[in-house]
Subunit: 459 residues, 2 copies
């Protein structure tokens, strides 16, 4: 039998020890900041019922959800429920042979959780969640089929103080990580008022607005001309295109932009501008930096109803590293009305790539073992084992090479694991009770007692 | 449209903030001990190629693997590769419409990783991995379809010192968690020699041995008589049943059992007993407790070839909370020969249940926020916000209630989150700069400056 190919599935990745350490560094900074602001951790299962996920992310999203095949004789069971499966298309067959799917984001499972546990939750509920999500997207540079989101949401409070705190959280995390990011804010109410300004509202208005936001969302990739081009192709009315161009041409400070729109919309924006002003007022003395009112920011998902955020790295690609907004009706599909929520998500993998590219990780972040005891022979092994245990009992990560092989091989092992100190114990050392301790960075060798070694390693 | 039911899929669970905190407590103790012994973290994707997983866990295992439906028009693609799909059974159709599956354990993905990265790995490779796995098992008390394993393995070293260190790791973890567990050790070589003693070896011997270990594995559930009964039903030869009963009747100290078997097998066990003796010799002065040589321990999986371990809680059900062993050939299926490995896995969920039942978690483990600032009105909110920020900047988890609602509601919120201190700022407090700080446990109220408050909270 020929061997099975040892490969990860397309678009998925292993994380080696160094990568896990750097990823854990990012997630622990995020976790600490979330908790600093009183958010509590939540975890939901990787799988959700298919009906929980379908219809929440648009048609494209539905296609990208990974479905799990039912167990056992799934065709037999499907036949019992419906006899037409022999002629079914893939799309028709799927719901008959798949009841579960992998989560596509953390927001919808959170909404499901809130409704399921509404009687036990004291609102407002501030939760954070750091878990992987899965999307059957075409893999490309920086886009994976398994990636991690780090979400913080407040549900059951309308206060704009929440929006301000979420912006401050983004600011604190980027500042601690050394990532130079801008935090863009807009409000879907402003966007809708401006885009539909001077247009007769009818049953198509919602859909027109939604279609325009999809185009506007591509601004970073295709530029202003590209957005206009796409809107024309979609036969968006000229007045709307004109309105969008008004937004695209806007410039100035946050305050100037607010004032321009105030004058232009003259109170017709159902208080979106007041909300923006209030949020900036909260942020004024908070130390939050690079917070920008960006009237063209759209965010693709339709469930956002007011404030929207996006954090972008200040580089040429201006990559999005976080995003979110307020949603007034997300729990409604599960039967719980009138619960407003606001939240956002950090993209851990994107932050990782930015930090890697700019060399922002602290040094020695992946070093686990502090000292390796060389294993010369049975006698020295026997002598060393109690010393090893004493070192570990002092809270120091330590190991002995398990096999009695050539010194060169053991030294190579220490190097590959970035172990800073190596202890060599030969006949001489056993006689005088002093260990030869080699500093692997400087190459220096010292004779130390076990207590002296432990003191050295504790520093 | 009637609302969608808000439910987790059968056999899966949400973890609320208190549960996440307790689970993190367990995994961080495990992680610390793994690193204390020089193990490095690894993470693999939730999905593996189906062919990576199939055939590694027996027929029953193959059935319990969750398969992921291919994306897009999977039936169309399946038709292109094979025209018979209309008449296919579920079993025949599965490989045509599913190429990926959720990992079933962490050992096989680890073997796959090692082979895939063999040119970059310096052996011996000591890795740990704490991640969920999925099995389409019938859910029942204590058995879930998504659960967490915490694995430590050493691959590329034959030294028995590894076995001894793994036992010590189990001991250290249980000791730190306060879990009263026994660590059972056996060796498949001893087991095979004894079970097949006096039986003519032929091409069926392997299979007979494997079949007996499956029965023996049920000893805890069905007892010695049950094991005998089952072997008779399977028409296991009488001599073998007699040999198994010899093992089941054994008693005495570890040393006595080793000596009994030494005499009985008189060197015919291809050094399994020597290995056991050597491991106990390593453990003698290590402080490891409750390590028991258990000659009936079998472990279901066929890939174990020498030492096997299992940790059991000392209670009536004697539930298994960890298990593992040495495997000499696991990477062979992926084309890498002669790499021996040894490892084991903690069952996080089982340890959790044991600790919950015996009330072993430290108090206040789920408390995130240390102090809540009450939000009376706009004036007090404005006064409080800079104090809140100062508290957070001092490294203390703090929050303000986001809405200006009745005090009772805000106090209820503090109670439900176990927040130990609440700060009330009214006209009086703003005038004299002293905050009213209420200790939520004792009910005491103190007047403190912000600096005094921060000092109090830091303790």
């Amino acid at each position: 039998m020929s061997p099975i190919q040892a490969n990860t599935p397309k678009g998925t990745r292993d994380f080696n020890p160094g990568q896990v350490a750097r990823r854990s560094y990012i997630s622990s900074v995020i976790r600490d900041v979330f908790e600093r602001y009183g958010f509590q951790p939540l975890e939901t299962p990787a799988m959700e019922n298919l009906e929980t996920l379908l219809g929440k992310y648009g048609d494209e999203g539905d296609r990208l959800i990974f479905k799990i095949l039912n167990s056992g004789d799934y065709l037999g069971k499907a036949r019992n429920s419906k006899s037409e499966i022999r002629n079914a298309s893939s799309k028709e067959l799927t719901p008959l042979i798949s009841e579960k799917a992998l989560r596509y984001d953390l927001t919808v499972p959170f909404a499901r959780y809130v409704v399921q546990n509404r009687n036990d939750i004291t609102f407002p509920f501030k939760r954070y969640q750091i878990q992987p999500v899965w999307r059957a997207d075409r893999p490309q540079k920086g886009r994976y089929r398994e990636f991690y989101q780090c979400d913080a949401d407040v549900i059951g409070s309308n206060a704009l103080l929440n929006e301000a705190e979420l912006v401050k959280i983004m600011n604190d995390v980027f500042s601690k990580l050394g990532v130079d990011a801008s935090i863009l804010i807009n409000n879907r109410k402003i966007l809708e008022s401006k885009i539909l300004q001077g247009v007769d509202r009818d049953e198509n208005s919602e859909q027109l607005f939604s279609s325009v936001t999809v185009s506007l969302d591509k601004f970073d990739k295709i530029g202003g001309d590209g957005v206009t081009e796409e809107m024309k192709k979609k036969e968006i009315p000229g007045k709307i295109i004109e309105n969008v161009n008004f937004l695209l041409r806007m410039s100035g400070s946050n305050e100037e932009k607010v004032n321009t729109l105030k004058k232009d919309l003259s109170g017709a924006d159902s208080n979106g501008l007041e909300e923006i002003e209030k949020i900036f007022d909260y942020l004024k003395d908070s130390g939050a930096q690079n917070v920008v009112f960006e009237p063209t920011l759209a965010r693709g998902l339709d469930y956002y109803t007011a404030t929207i955020f996006e954090a972008k790295v200040q580089s040429e690609q201006s990559e999005s590293v976080a995003g979110g907004g307020r949603y007034d009706d997300l729990t409604n599909v599960f039967g719980l009305k009138d619960i407003s929520g606001v939240g956002f998500s950090f993209g851990l993998d994107r932050i990782y790539n930015v930090m890697e590219a700019s060399d922002l990780f602290p040094k020695n972040i992946g070093t686990v073992t502090k000292v390796l005891f060389i294993n010369f022979d049975e006698v020295s092994e026997k002598y060393v084992l109690p010393l090893l245990q004493q070192t570990r009992d002092s809270g120091i990560n330590a190991e002995i090479f398990p096999d009695q092989v050539k010194l060169a091989k053991q030294m190579k092992y220490a190097n590959s694991k970035n172990i800073p100190f190596v202890v060599l114990v030969g006949t001489e050392e056993m006689k005088n009770g002093k260990l030869s301790v080699k500093n692997m960075e400087t190459g220096e060798q010292q004779a130390l007692s076990i207590d002296e070694l432990i003191e050295t390693l504790k520093d």
